[in-house]
Symmetry: C2
Subunit: 452 residues, 2 copies
Amino acid sequence: MVEPVSFGLTKEFRDRFQQALDERDGQFIQSNLEGINAADITSLLYEFDSEESKYVLDLLDIDIRAEIITDLDSDARVNFLKVYQPEELTAIIDRLDSDDAADILNELPIKTREEVLAGLDAVLRSQVIDLLRYDENVAGGLMAKELIKAKSHWTVVQCIDEIRKQVENVSKFYAVYVVDDQNKLLGRVPLQKLILTDSNTKVEDIYDPDLISVETHMEDTEVASVMRKYDLEAVPVVNVYGQLVGRITIDDVVDVITEQAEEERQLMSGISEDVEEDDSIWRLTRARLPWLVIGIIGGLISVQFIGVFEGDLLRITAIAFFIPLIQATGGNVGIQSSSIVVQSLANPGFVEDGLWKRLSKVFLVAVLNGFLLALIVLGANLLFGAGSDRLAVVVSIALFTVVLAASFIGTVTPLVLNKFGFNPALASGPFITTINDLLGLGIYFLTIHLML
Amino acid sequence: MVEPVSFGLTKEFRDRFQQALDERDGQFIQSNLEGINAADITSLLYEFDSEESKYVLDLLDIDIRAEIITDLDSDARVNFLKVYQPEELTAIIDRLDSDDAADILNELPIKTREEVLAGLDAVLRSQVIDLLRYDENVAGGLMAKELIKAKSHWTVVQCIDEIRKQVENVSKFYAVYVVDDQNKLLGRVPLQKLILTDSNTKVEDIYDPDLISVETHMEDTEVASVMRKYDLEAVPVVNVYGQLVGRITIDDVVDVITEQAEEERQLMSGISEDVEEDDSIWRLTRARLPWLVIGIIGGLISVQFIGVFEGDLLRITAIAFFIPLIQATGGNVGIQSSSIVVQSLANPGFVEDGLWKRLSKVFLVAVLNGFLLALIVLGANLLFGAGSDRLAVVVSIALFTVVLAASFIGTVTPLVLNKFGFNPALASGPFITTINDLLGLGIYFLTIHLML
């Protein structure tokens, strides 16, 4: 039978489940979770506290328990695993693939980590120890040690025997990797080829030597773009000597891509921690406050700055009317410009244009946009006249200049951030916007001061 | 030999290649592209015009040519294929998987499409015609017709024979799908199980009936979250009768996820078309202008609005000093709020909290943030005094109110947009920011007018 995808179970079910939990009604829980996909149970557990969740998990088969704990997102897991004893953790982690085991061990307090490591199966322990030394954002930190490896002089039958031995350990596999006696990666045999080839054929006669591999130190985002570019479902990882040390599967890379998008969204909107709507009020406040304060500091600086021009304001009050117009346009232009650069950095072309060619193009687009906007504003001001005609002309000149300056800052900032290893999306966030705001005000008031 | 990943070939190579193109030096081109991965050739072609690119492609094997044309991004392809004759297109499209063929046919002018369709191989033609009726953003539009299907009463040997027949057509496969005599999907047999099972075993004895499938009408973003949630490398697509009609592989979904992130980035930064840095100056200008104009209109409205309060401004010039502070804070708070909602909508929980619970939480976070910010501003104003103490208090009260209002608008707008089928990320874009700006100004000037 085809199980329907079971999204969004109802509030009623949650409440009934909570009642079963309060009554420690194990039978209700077990019978209702029977046959439910682990990923769905994971979503359900987010509704309950750690003790309750552990009660539910303890009712389930240890393999499903292990799968659910792998599925949990990292923040939730750190909290949840606090209610577990080291020996319980050992039993669960022993069931995991090396990459998931390493991820979870990395989240544990150092003492617990050592206790769990000591209790693991010897093979898994040595695999995990090998993985623990990599940063989580490089290929080595993404890869799993589990894979199917064949020597080039083996026959297809030997390959299949190896698969039989490993099938328990390797959950998803698409190909057998072929290595020489020094464990150097030579190529791969896709599973379908193995099925269709006569059993006595030698592996060296059928393997495909043209394969893409990545090195342990490649950054996760780069691994993601390699896998995306070449449409790979898995990529072998080699060390600097070209020896096969692990394998990255596409599901891990999908997570990298998704997290990258989330991080970018946070940077663009000025949120400094990875928060979700259901985090605590204090955490949400704390995540938002730093960037708001930067905006406030910018605002306080503009208070002082405009204060300098109090004389001009006293002379022509209408100057104040145009502050929001100037500021909003500067902000919008700046964000657009950096967003286009961020986009290009995410999809690098074959050969990048030089900086000057880029800037001159940005300049032309800014001139065009700035000119059109200045014209609209001039027309509107002359028509609805909220000040003298002379002021209208000066405002348009200032606006044009602000568009040019904001384009320049918006284009250069992400390039500089990227060059120094920061996420260029920061440039679309409040810090740069604040700087753009100040710059816009500066240009506006100076223009007025000089021309009126 | 393991081919190294060949990113970012040099500018020198591009120039040398251009020279070879100018001289129509086919030999140089062929020898340099020998053994290069199709995806890398695709990146290279973006550097040259359509005629030149076609010249290069015509030198290559037709299968590589087909792969490259599939790889091209849709905008580039639409332009590029204009230099092709229908019969050339037919030859190429005949080599493609049904989903890629359908995508390309959808991009062609209707007359060319019909000509090409008529020339296709009969099997592919009927598959493509079946696919053409789906929107590109539902499961039916993502799926390919190519897959390996087995009847439940078959033996493993029959399955392997079927694979042998289909192996030319199905480029990536991970499992055989099992159907009954009415083509209803029953389950799947992973390839590794097929390898390890005795040839005379019946399929019905080994297939796994617990599998996730999606229906043709499911939205692409939902397909993406299903595949991500359950870590699937491929998902079968069924029609409303549960009959197997196609299959979606993870590489297509990775593209969906990436495009979703790009679309969101564009909406958040107010760019109305899918543009890249290397598009034409006119296109870049056109993509940016609409949202800039909306910002300008907002700015012009605030000109009129502030004009109403000219009396207050004449009385207390210092009012003008705080306009940027109020406006920037309102904007930042609004963007943060909508971004958190967008995040939650992208990762839906098991049971969503009701609207009231959500809003009351947002309200508390806003009170906390607003209070802290108002306090900072009050302190700074009393210290550096850019106006009377009374004005300092009133500014802080207005700021607090603006934070509450912007939080509310920022939270509710994406929820409303989402409800009516729009992308909620629009709420972090310039349209809502402009509305927030106006609202902030309104609150500020009214507070001043009433309290001073």
